[in-house]
């Protein structure tokens, strides 16, 4: 029981940045703009937020800075993809490379710590919150441990993600006027255009949402999880989020389930390190690490279900004359 709860607890922690990034990707890709630059935007946000949180001592200002930095790259991606009808994949790759380049350059110049930021004080980091009655309930069987160990004791960004961002994104995408336009533009931009919807405007808005969410994801990593910016700290999480998005067939709740699954695999893998299982023996950690990527490849190829992308994805919209 205790084992399981700690496993689920770390699943929630690991999945949060993945969920934020996957939902960010959802906005962009549902509007028809491929985004392989999630990784770079998270990295830049992680750096900007850690720097500002360090300088001001305020994690919320850090979050703002992270969102702003990620937004800048998002708008760059929009400029290339929407205004200049450029290749969205190449643009995403440029975003990633620029992010890998500029973050250590600025970090070294500003903080002189080998491309990282100095560790944040506790007051400059997001703290784990203890929910009301968590201490008193912890002795109650079953509910106690679940409430006080699993549900309580996360940072505010986790609660924001699960209780605010996820329902909001689902509502916006499926129930709001903007969401309908978003999906229309991603499936058939010409029809949307005929109906008087500005394709460019919807795609720009989608990429703004994308920037904000990526900013949150990056901030979570540096201002909460590690407590400083470390060179290349995203380590493929942006691509993992992209994989989860495809795994969830570009739908919010399923993408989140994908993130939870990948995060759970990660939590299991850390616990299995060096442990010999009965019958199977020791499972090399790489076997579990590789699961999300293999699953995504199989899914895309239609071997396990079929992931159908938004129809207009990756195609620049040129208004017919």
């Amino acid at each position: 029981m205790e084992q399981l709860i700690s496993l689920l607890d770390s699943t929630i922690r690991v999945s949060t940045p993945l969920i934020l990034a996957a939902l960010a990707g959802l906005f962009s890709e549902r509007s028809g703009v491929v985004d392989i630059g999630l990784e770079g935007k998270m990295l830049t946000a992680a750096f900007a937020s850690a720097s500002v949180a360090y300088l001001t001592g305020n994690p919320w200002l850090g979050l703002m800075a992270g969102m702003a930095a990620s937004m800048v790259l998002s708008m760059l991606h929009a400029l290339v993809s929407v205004t200049y009808n450029g290749n969205q994949l190449i643009s995403g790759m440029a975003v990633n490379t620029i992010a890998s380049g500029i973050t250590p350059v600025l970090a070294l110049a500003w903080f002189q710590q080998g491309g990282n930021t100095p560790p944040l004080d506790d007051s400059a980091r997001f703290q784990e919150l203890t929910l009301p009655f968590a201490d008193r309930l912890s002795d109650v069987p079953v509910i106690g441990p679940i409430y006080s160990n699993l549900i309580s004791g996360h940072c505010i960004l986790v609660y924001l993600t699960f209780l605010l961002v996820l329902p909001l994104v689902t509502w916006v995408v499926y129930r709001s006027r903007f969401g309908l336009r978003l999906r229309a533009v991603g499936e058939n931009p010409h029809a949307a255009d005929t109906a008087g919807i500005s394709v460019a405007r919807v795609r720009y808005l989608a990429l703004m949402c994308n920037g904000l969410l990526c900013g949150m994801a990056g901030t979570f990593l540096s201002v909460y999880q590690t407590g400083s910016f470390i060179k290349e700290m995203t380590a493929g999480k942006g691509f993992l989020a992209l994989a989860a998005l495809i795994f969830g067939k570009w739908r919010p709740v399923y993408a989140v389930l994908g993130c939870l699954l990948f995060a759970f695999a990660d939590a299991v893998q850390i616990r299995l390190e060096g442990v010999s299982l009965p019958l199977i023996g020791e499972i090399p950690s790489q076997f579990i690490q590789v699961i999300p990527y293999v699953l995504t490849v199989l899914l895309l190829a239609g071997f396990v279900g079929k992931a159908v992308a938004p129809k207009a994805i990756g195609i620049p919209f040129v208004k017919s004359r």
Binding site: V34, I36, L76, V80, S81, Y84, N85, G86, N87, L89, I90, S91, M93, A94, V95, N96, T97, I98, A99, S100, G101, I102, T103, P104, V105, L106, L108, A109, W110, Q112, G115, K231, G236, F239, L242, A243, I246, P284, Q286, F287, Q289, V290, Y293, V294, T296, V297, L300, A301, G302, F303, A309, G314, I315, P316
Partner: protein, 366 residues
């Protein structure tokens, strides 16, 4: 996707003015960043150029990195001509390295150099091609998007190689995740060694005979893409897949063969690194060369001559950037990544930025 579309510019302008304009734009942005962090951009540029070309050792290292980038650049270009964006050069080079390692570890005690070396080259190409074959097959037959698949394959290759190096290939008793040193009969002849044989003294650098191999690959690439029937099919598929199909070309087959050629070229980059320089397999020996290949191919407009020149540029940036980071404690070698990213942005993403401007100028001229 709009890959491989013909341009509106005259060919010579496309190959000269446009890349220079893009490079200048990228360098200007980098200059501003350098200035913002309180360094003098011109002084840094001078240091960088001196580090890359100013002395014998620097030139040797520059050409060594150039060799890597020619191979990965050609790899990206081969796929690009078929309208495919192969972002998986990193993984294909890594797997090419596995092919070399397995061959060397199996045969370096038995076979002489002149038998072992061709075997290693074959192994590098076959392993690289095989790693590219799967995404290509999935794209051609099952319709899954090659970019996403090759990204996933990069990550899969990291895990596979970490596992193999850490559990099977690691030198017995060693703490570091590397293989044993390869036998000297598998080493690619070093440039200084070959020069000494004809009486020329060169400084000690990792530059080796793979450099000539890269130049030969460029020549073959040119002949195959522009002067064979298959190359014609390749370019037709890239320009207009529907037209190619109506003309009776086997589009899935062209896609698969193009990706295999691409993977084989990426695999050859491992020859330069493993047989030419480190003489053993290390974790992460690829170190981003597959991604630099994208910038090289975009900037070189997918033409071998352009690729040689832009590979030289990135080789110089890599080597000069290293020197610069030693001279200037406030500048890291990641500065080169920034330039690389900007080059990808201007040459690839914003290709519609300068081209219409130039096209307008040319039209007015006529």
């Amino acid at each position: 996707m709009k890959l491989g579309q013909p341009s509106t510019l005259p060919r010579w302008a496309q190959l000269t003015i446009l890349p220079v304009l893009n490079l200048v734009a990228a360098l200007l942005v980098t200059g501003v960043v350098t200035w913002l962090i309180g360094e003098n951009p011109l002084e840094c540029l001078k240091l960088l150029i001196h580090g890359a070309f100013g002395y014998g050792e620097g030139i040797g290292y520059t050409l060594f990195y150039t060799t890597d980038f020619i191979f990965t650049g050609l790899a990206v270009a081969a796929a690009y001509h078929a309208g495919l964006f192969n972002i998986g050069g990193e993984g294909q080079a890594y797997l090419g390295g596995l092919g070399i390692t397995l061959t060397v570890l199996a045969f370096d005690k038995i076979l002489p150099f002149w038998l072992l070396m061709p075997l290693c080259l074959m192994a590098a190409m076959i392993f690289g091609a095989a790693w590219a074959y799967i995404p290509a097959w999935l794209q051609a037959r099952r319709g899954s998007h090659i970019v996403v698949t090759t990204i996933m394959f990069n990550f899969i290759s990291y895990s596979v190689m970490l596992y193999l190096i850490g559990h099977h290939l690691i030198e017995a008793g060693s703490q570091n995740p590397t293989t044993r040193e390869f036998g000297a009969n598998s080493w690619m002849p070093a440039m200084q060694g070959m020069a000494a044989a004809i009486g020329v003294h060169l400084p000690n650098t990792p530059l080796n005979a793979s450099f000539f191999l890269a130049l030969i690959a460029c020549g073959v690439f040119y002949l195959v893409v522009w002067h064979t029937r298959w190359g014609y099919e390749l370019r037709t598929v890239g320009t207009n897949g529907d037209a190619a199909r109506y003309a009776g070309m086997n589009v899935p087959k062209v896609i698969i063969v193009a990706m295999c050629a691409s993977g084989a070229l990426a695999g050859l980059a491992a020859v330069n690194e493993l047989l030419g320089s480190t003489h053993r397999m290390n974790v992460d020996f690829t170190n981003g060369i597959g991604f630099v290949g994208v910038a090289v191919a975009l900037m070189g407009r997918n033409h071998p001559v352009g690729i040689i020149l832009s590979a030289l540029l990135f080789g110089a940036l890599t080597q000069g950037g290293l020197d610069l980071s030693f001279a200037k404690p406030l500048i890291t070698r990641e500065m080169v990544l920034l330039i690389e990213g900007l080059v990808i942005l201007f040459c690839g993403g914003l290709e519609n930025l300068f081209e219409p401007m130039l096209a307008g100028l040319f039209k007015r001229g006529k």
